[in-house]
Point group: C2
Protein backbone atom coordinates (compact mmCIF):
# COMPACT_ATOMS: atom_id res chain seq x y z
CA UNK A 1 0.00 0.00 0.00
CA UNK A 2 1.85 2.99 -1.35
CA UNK A 3 0.45 5.56 1.10
CA UNK A 4 1.74 3.52 4.06
CA UNK A 5 5.14 2.86 2.42
CA UNK A 6 5.57 6.59 1.72
CA UNK A 7 4.63 7.42 5.31
CA UNK A 8 7.14 4.88 6.66
CA UNK A 9 9.90 6.37 4.49
CA UNK A 10 8.97 9.91 5.52
CA UNK A 11 8.17 9.53 9.24
CA UNK A 12 9.62 6.16 10.30
CA UNK A 13 12.86 6.11 12.30
CA UNK A 14 15.40 3.32 12.11
CA UNK A 15 17.05 2.63 15.46
CA UNK A 16 20.02 0.36 16.20
CA UNK A 17 19.20 -3.37 16.03
CA UNK A 18 16.92 -3.09 12.99
CA UNK A 19 14.18 -1.51 15.09
CA UNK A 20 11.73 0.50 12.99
CA UNK A 21 10.00 3.16 15.07
CA UNK A 22 6.62 4.24 13.73
CA UNK A 23 5.20 5.70 16.94
CA UNK A 24 4.59 9.07 15.28
CA UNK A 25 1.77 7.79 13.04
CA UNK A 26 1.09 4.10 13.58
CA UNK A 27 1.32 2.76 17.10
CA UNK A 28 1.59 5.47 19.76
CA UNK A 29 0.20 8.49 17.97
CA UNK A 30 -2.19 7.24 15.31
CA UNK A 31 -2.82 9.08 12.03
CA UNK A 32 -6.54 8.36 11.73
CA UNK A 33 -6.78 9.37 8.05
CA UNK A 34 -4.14 6.75 7.21
CA UNK A 35 -5.94 4.32 9.52
CA UNK A 36 -9.22 4.79 7.59
CA UNK A 37 -7.42 4.11 4.31
CA UNK A 38 -5.74 0.99 5.74
CA UNK A 39 -9.12 -0.36 6.90
CA UNK A 40 -10.52 0.24 3.40
CA UNK A 41 -7.58 -1.63 1.90
CA UNK A 42 -8.14 -4.59 4.26
CA UNK A 43 -11.82 -4.64 3.27
CA UNK A 44 -10.75 -4.75 -0.39
CA UNK A 45 -8.18 -7.51 0.21
CA UNK A 46 -10.66 -9.75 2.04
CA UNK A 47 -13.69 -9.02 -0.15
CA UNK A 48 -15.59 -12.29 -0.60
CA UNK A 49 -14.02 -13.88 2.51
CA UNK A 50 -16.43 -14.60 5.35
CA UNK A 51 -15.29 -12.86 8.54
CA UNK A 52 -17.35 -12.90 11.75
CA UNK A 53 -14.77 -11.51 14.19
CA UNK A 54 -11.54 -9.52 14.31
CA UNK A 55 -8.89 -10.58 16.84
CA UNK A 56 -5.76 -8.71 17.94
CA UNK A 57 -3.45 -8.38 20.92
CA UNK A 58 -3.12 -5.40 23.25
CA UNK A 59 -2.09 -2.64 23.05
CA UNK A 60 -0.66 -1.46 19.73
CA UNK A 61 -2.77 -3.82 17.59
CA UNK A 62 -6.04 -2.35 18.91
CA UNK A 63 -6.41 0.81 16.76
CA UNK A 64 -5.88 -1.16 13.51
CA UNK A 65 -8.23 -3.96 14.62
CA UNK A 66 -10.87 -1.44 15.74
CA UNK A 67 -10.84 0.36 12.37
CA UNK A 68 -11.07 -2.93 10.44
CA UNK A 69 -13.87 -4.36 12.61
CA UNK A 70 -15.86 -1.10 12.27
CA UNK A 71 -15.38 -1.25 8.48
CA UNK A 72 -16.48 -4.91 8.34
CA UNK A 73 -19.26 -4.38 10.93
CA UNK A 74 -18.17 -7.33 13.07
CA UNK A 75 -17.10 -7.49 16.75
CA UNK A 76 -13.46 -6.95 17.71
CA UNK A 77 -11.75 -8.94 20.47
CA UNK A 78 -8.33 -8.30 21.91
CA UNK A 79 -6.08 -10.77 23.69
CA UNK A 80 -4.51 -9.62 26.94
CA UNK A 81 -0.78 -9.85 27.43
CA UNK A 82 -1.12 -11.42 30.85
CA UNK A 83 -3.12 -14.01 32.73
CA UNK A 84 -4.76 -12.78 35.92
CA UNK A 85 -6.31 -16.11 36.87
CA UNK A 86 -7.48 -19.23 35.08
CA UNK A 87 -8.61 -21.34 38.01
CA UNK A 88 -12.03 -21.88 36.47
CA UNK A 89 -10.62 -22.57 32.99
CA UNK A 90 -12.48 -19.64 31.49
CA UNK A 91 -9.69 -18.43 29.22
CA UNK A 92 -7.70 -19.65 26.23
CA UNK A 93 -3.98 -19.03 26.63
CA UNK A 94 -0.81 -19.20 24.55
CA UNK A 95 2.85 -18.43 25.16
CA UNK A 96 4.36 -15.70 22.98
CA UNK A 97 8.09 -15.01 23.00
CA UNK A 98 9.01 -11.39 22.24
CA UNK A 99 12.37 -10.92 20.49
CA UNK A 100 12.03 -7.16 21.03
CA UNK A 101 11.59 -7.36 24.79
CA UNK A 102 13.36 -10.72 25.22
CA UNK A 103 10.63 -12.18 27.40
CA UNK A 104 7.69 -14.55 27.20
CA UNK A 105 4.14 -13.27 27.61
CA UNK A 106 1.24 -15.56 28.37
CA UNK A 107 -1.54 -14.09 26.27
CA UNK A 108 -5.18 -14.83 26.99
CA UNK A 109 -8.70 -14.46 25.60
CA UNK A 110 -11.94 -15.17 27.47
CA UNK A 111 -13.59 -18.32 26.13
CA UNK A 112 -16.89 -16.44 25.90
CA UNK A 113 -15.56 -14.25 23.08
CA UNK A 114 -14.37 -16.89 20.58
CA UNK A 115 -16.77 -19.56 19.41
CA UNK A 116 -16.91 -22.60 17.20
CA UNK A 117 -17.99 -21.40 13.77
CA UNK A 118 -16.31 -18.00 14.09
CA UNK A 119 -14.37 -16.92 10.99
CA UNK A 120 -11.56 -14.91 12.52
CA UNK A 121 -9.41 -12.25 10.90
CA UNK A 122 -6.27 -11.75 13.01
CA UNK A 123 -4.73 -8.25 12.93
CA UNK A 124 -1.55 -6.75 14.33
CA UNK A 125 0.73 -3.80 13.73
CA UNK A 126 3.99 -5.71 13.10
CA UNK A 127 4.93 -9.16 11.79
CA UNK A 128 8.58 -10.15 12.13
CA UNK A 129 9.24 -13.57 13.62
CA UNK A 130 5.56 -14.37 13.69
CA UNK A 131 5.39 -15.41 17.34
CA UNK A 132 2.42 -13.16 18.19
CA UNK A 133 0.43 -14.40 15.17
CA UNK A 134 1.29 -18.03 16.04
CA UNK A 135 -0.05 -17.50 19.56
CA UNK A 136 -3.26 -15.90 18.30
CA UNK A 137 -3.73 -18.68 15.69
CA UNK A 138 -3.32 -21.36 18.36
CA UNK A 139 -5.98 -19.64 20.50
CA UNK A 140 -8.41 -19.44 17.56
CA UNK A 141 -7.89 -23.12 16.79
CA UNK A 142 -8.21 -24.14 20.43
CA UNK A 143 -11.62 -22.41 20.35
CA UNK A 144 -12.48 -24.58 17.29
CA UNK A 145 -12.96 -21.37 15.33
CA UNK A 146 -11.40 -20.89 11.88
CA UNK A 147 -8.57 -18.55 10.90
CA UNK A 148 -9.96 -16.67 7.87
CA UNK A 149 -6.61 -14.96 7.51
CA UNK A 150 -4.27 -12.48 9.11
CA UNK A 151 -3.29 -8.96 8.18
CA UNK A 152 -0.54 -6.75 9.55
CA UNK A 153 0.37 -3.16 8.89
CA UNK A 154 4.09 -3.83 8.46
CA UNK A 155 5.84 -7.14 7.72
CA UNK A 156 9.58 -7.54 8.00
CA UNK A 157 9.60 -10.05 5.15
CA UNK A 158 13.29 -10.89 5.61
CA UNK A 159 12.59 -12.24 9.11
CA UNK A 160 10.48 -15.04 7.61
CA UNK A 161 7.74 -15.27 10.23
CA UNK A 162 5.12 -14.46 7.58
CA UNK A 163 6.47 -16.87 4.98
CA UNK A 164 6.70 -19.68 7.51
CA UNK A 165 2.97 -19.23 8.29
CA UNK A 166 2.12 -19.01 4.56
CA UNK A 167 3.89 -22.34 4.02
CA UNK A 168 1.59 -23.85 6.64
CA UNK A 169 -1.38 -22.74 4.51
CA UNK A 170 -2.49 -19.59 6.32
CA UNK A 171 -3.43 -16.50 4.33
CA UNK A 172 -1.18 -13.71 5.61
CA UNK A 173 -1.45 -10.20 4.14
CA UNK A 174 0.69 -7.19 4.91
CA UNK A 175 0.03 -3.59 3.89
CA UNK A 176 3.75 -2.84 3.70
CA UNK A 177 6.34 -5.60 3.29
CA UNK A 178 9.92 -4.63 4.08
CA UNK A 179 12.50 -6.73 2.22
CA UNK A 180 15.59 -4.82 3.29
CA UNK A 181 16.36 -2.15 5.84
CA UNK A 182 19.60 -0.22 6.32
CA UNK A 183 20.29 2.94 8.33
CA UNK A 184 19.80 4.94 5.13
CA UNK A 185 17.00 3.23 3.27
CA UNK A 186 14.02 0.90 3.41
CA UNK A 187 13.04 -1.35 0.50
CA UNK A 188 9.52 -2.74 0.04
CA UNK A 189 8.36 -5.78 -1.94
CA UNK B 1 -27.28 7.59 25.63
CA UNK B 2 -30.19 5.20 25.70
CA UNK B 3 -28.68 2.56 23.39
CA UNK B 4 -25.68 2.19 25.73
CA UNK B 5 -27.84 2.16 28.89
CA UNK B 6 -30.06 -0.56 27.40
CA UNK B 7 -26.99 -2.59 26.42
CA UNK B 8 -25.53 -2.29 29.94
CA UNK B 9 -28.84 -3.46 31.45
CA UNK B 10 -29.07 -6.36 28.98
CA UNK B 11 -25.45 -7.57 28.75
CA UNK B 12 -23.62 -6.06 31.72
CA UNK B 13 -22.82 -8.28 34.71
CA UNK B 14 -22.62 -7.02 38.28
CA UNK B 15 -19.91 -8.78 40.27
CA UNK B 16 -19.24 -8.55 44.03
CA UNK B 17 -17.65 -5.26 45.14
CA UNK B 18 -19.74 -3.09 42.79
CA UNK B 19 -17.73 -4.25 39.77
CA UNK B 20 -19.65 -3.80 36.53
CA UNK B 21 -18.39 -6.20 33.86
CA UNK B 22 -18.99 -5.04 30.30
CA UNK B 23 -16.38 -7.19 28.57
CA UNK B 24 -18.97 -8.75 26.28
CA UNK B 25 -19.59 -5.55 24.30
CA UNK B 26 -17.46 -2.68 25.55
CA UNK B 27 -13.92 -3.45 26.64
CA UNK B 28 -12.77 -6.97 25.74
CA UNK B 29 -15.11 -7.87 22.93
CA UNK B 30 -16.23 -4.66 21.28
CA UNK B 31 -19.62 -4.23 19.60
CA UNK B 32 -18.50 -2.04 16.70
CA UNK B 33 -22.03 -0.92 15.75
CA UNK B 34 -22.51 0.47 19.26
CA UNK B 35 -18.99 1.94 19.04
CA UNK B 36 -19.90 3.81 15.83
CA UNK B 37 -23.00 5.23 17.49
CA UNK B 38 -21.01 6.28 20.57
CA UNK B 39 -18.47 8.11 18.38
CA UNK B 40 -21.35 9.91 16.62
CA UNK B 41 -22.77 10.93 19.99
CA UNK B 42 -19.39 12.30 21.11
CA UNK B 43 -19.14 14.29 17.86
CA UNK B 44 -22.60 15.72 18.59
CA UNK B 45 -21.74 16.56 22.23
CA UNK B 46 -18.54 18.40 21.29
CA UNK B 47 -19.83 20.11 18.14
CA UNK B 48 -18.37 23.62 18.04
CA UNK B 49 -15.50 22.73 20.41
CA UNK B 50 -12.04 22.84 18.85
CA UNK B 51 -10.28 19.48 19.23
CA UNK B 52 -6.88 18.75 17.68
CA UNK B 53 -6.06 15.47 19.42
CA UNK B 54 -7.71 12.58 21.27
CA UNK B 55 -5.85 11.11 24.27
CA UNK B 56 -6.56 7.88 26.15
CA UNK B 57 -4.78 5.23 28.22
CA UNK B 58 -4.01 1.66 27.20
CA UNK B 59 -5.58 -0.79 26.73
CA UNK B 60 -9.37 -0.67 27.16
CA UNK B 61 -9.68 3.04 26.33
CA UNK B 62 -8.15 2.56 22.87
CA UNK B 63 -11.17 1.31 20.85
CA UNK B 64 -13.36 4.22 22.04
CA UNK B 65 -10.60 6.78 21.44
CA UNK B 66 -9.85 5.33 17.99
CA UNK B 67 -13.49 5.55 16.91
CA UNK B 68 -13.81 9.15 18.19
CA UNK B 69 -10.53 10.30 16.59
CA UNK B 70 -11.55 8.74 13.25
CA UNK B 71 -14.91 10.53 13.47
CA UNK B 72 -13.26 13.87 14.29
CA UNK B 73 -10.40 13.29 11.80
CA UNK B 74 -7.70 14.11 14.34
CA UNK B 75 -4.75 12.03 15.62
CA UNK B 76 -5.21 9.67 18.58
CA UNK B 77 -2.52 9.20 21.24
CA UNK B 78 -2.53 6.63 24.01
CA UNK B 79 -0.64 6.79 27.27
CA UNK B 80 1.26 3.68 28.32
CA UNK B 81 0.68 2.13 31.73
CA UNK B 82 4.38 1.80 32.43
CA UNK B 83 7.64 3.69 32.07
CA UNK B 84 10.40 1.85 30.27
CA UNK B 85 13.01 4.57 30.63
CA UNK B 86 13.06 8.35 31.00
CA UNK B 87 16.77 9.01 31.29
CA UNK B 88 16.64 11.54 28.46
CA UNK B 89 13.47 13.21 29.76
CA UNK B 90 11.54 12.42 26.63
CA UNK B 91 8.25 11.47 28.29
CA UNK B 92 5.56 13.08 30.41
CA UNK B 93 4.57 10.92 33.36
CA UNK B 94 1.91 10.82 36.05
CA UNK B 95 1.06 8.48 38.91
CA UNK B 96 -2.36 6.82 38.74
CA UNK B 97 -3.72 4.80 41.63
CA UNK B 98 -6.09 2.00 40.62
CA UNK B 99 -8.79 1.16 43.19
CA UNK B 100 -9.72 -1.91 41.10
CA UNK B 101 -6.22 -3.42 41.08
CA UNK B 102 -5.04 -1.72 44.29
CA UNK B 103 -1.76 -0.58 42.78
CA UNK B 104 -0.13 2.54 41.35
CA UNK B 105 0.75 2.76 37.68
CA UNK B 106 3.17 5.31 36.33
CA UNK B 107 1.58 6.30 33.04
CA UNK B 108 3.58 7.98 30.28
CA UNK B 109 3.25 9.75 26.93
CA UNK B 110 6.12 10.67 24.61
CA UNK B 111 6.68 14.44 24.62
CA UNK B 112 6.71 14.39 20.81
CA UNK B 113 2.99 13.55 20.70
CA UNK B 114 1.53 16.35 22.85
CA UNK B 115 2.27 19.94 21.97
CA UNK B 116 1.61 23.46 23.19
CA UNK B 117 -1.54 24.61 21.42
CA UNK B 118 -3.11 21.15 21.24
CA UNK B 119 -6.81 21.07 22.19
CA UNK B 120 -7.10 17.64 23.76
CA UNK B 121 -10.20 15.51 24.21
CA UNK B 122 -9.48 12.85 26.84
CA UNK B 123 -11.40 9.56 26.48
CA UNK B 124 -11.71 6.44 28.60
CA UNK B 125 -14.06 3.53 29.10
CA UNK B 126 -14.82 4.05 32.82
CA UNK B 127 -14.85 6.97 35.24
CA UNK B 128 -15.23 6.14 38.92
CA UNK B 129 -12.77 7.81 41.29
CA UNK B 130 -11.32 9.84 38.45
CA UNK B 131 -7.68 8.95 39.08
CA UNK B 132 -6.97 7.97 35.44
CA UNK B 133 -8.52 11.19 34.12
CA UNK B 134 -6.59 13.24 36.69
CA UNK B 135 -3.33 11.62 35.52
CA UNK B 136 -4.12 12.30 31.86
CA UNK B 137 -5.15 15.90 32.62
CA UNK B 138 -1.88 16.52 34.48
CA UNK B 139 0.08 15.20 31.48
CA UNK B 140 -1.84 17.46 29.05
CA UNK B 141 -1.20 20.48 31.26
CA UNK B 142 2.47 19.60 31.74
CA UNK B 143 2.70 19.66 27.91
CA UNK B 144 1.17 23.19 28.00
CA UNK B 145 -1.68 21.83 25.88
CA UNK B 146 -5.32 22.52 26.77
CA UNK B 147 -7.95 20.08 28.02
CA UNK B 148 -10.91 20.66 25.68
CA UNK B 149 -12.89 18.16 27.73
CA UNK B 150 -13.17 14.52 28.67
CA UNK B 151 -15.67 11.85 27.72
CA UNK B 152 -16.17 8.38 29.15
CA UNK B 153 -18.43 5.54 28.14
CA UNK B 154 -19.61 4.80 31.68
CA UNK B 155 -19.45 7.05 34.74
CA UNK B 156 -20.14 5.74 38.23
CA UNK B 157 -21.65 9.07 39.27
CA UNK B 158 -21.99 8.03 42.93
CA UNK B 159 -18.21 7.65 43.22
CA UNK B 160 -17.78 11.41 42.66
CA UNK B 161 -14.60 11.37 40.54
CA UNK B 162 -16.48 13.08 37.70
CA UNK B 163 -18.16 15.70 39.86
CA UNK B 164 -14.92 16.55 41.62
CA UNK B 165 -13.33 17.30 38.21
CA UNK B 166 -16.41 19.29 37.09
CA UNK B 167 -16.08 21.43 40.24
CA UNK B 168 -12.52 22.26 39.15
CA UNK B 169 -13.94 23.60 35.87
CA UNK B 170 -13.31 20.71 33.48
CA UNK B 171 -15.98 19.65 31.03
CA UNK B 172 -16.65 15.97 31.71
CA UNK B 173 -19.22 14.07 29.66
CA UNK B 174 -20.38 10.49 30.11
CA UNK B 175 -22.51 8.46 27.70
CA UNK B 176 -24.05 6.49 30.56
CA UNK B 177 -24.08 7.80 34.12
CA UNK B 178 -24.82 5.25 36.83
CA UNK B 179 -26.36 6.78 39.96
CA UNK B 180 -27.10 3.53 41.79
CA UNK B 181 -26.16 -0.10 41.33
CA UNK B 182 -27.47 -3.10 43.24
CA UNK B 183 -27.18 -6.81 42.44
CA UNK B 184 -30.61 -6.62 40.81
CA UNK B 185 -30.72 -3.27 39.08
CA UNK B 186 -28.81 -0.34 37.64
CA UNK B 187 -30.15 3.22 37.68
CA UNK B 188 -28.97 5.91 35.27
CA UNK B 189 -29.14 9.71 35.62
Amino acid sequence: MKELEDKIKKDGEILPGEVLKVGKFLNQQIDTELLKHMAEEVERLFKGTKITKVLTIEASGIPFATAIAMKLSVPMVFAKKSITSNVSGEIYTAKVYSYTHKNTNHISVSKAYLNEGDEVLICDDFLANGKALEGLISIVEEAKAHVAGAVVEIEKVYQNGGNSLREKGYRIESLAGITRMTDEDIEFN
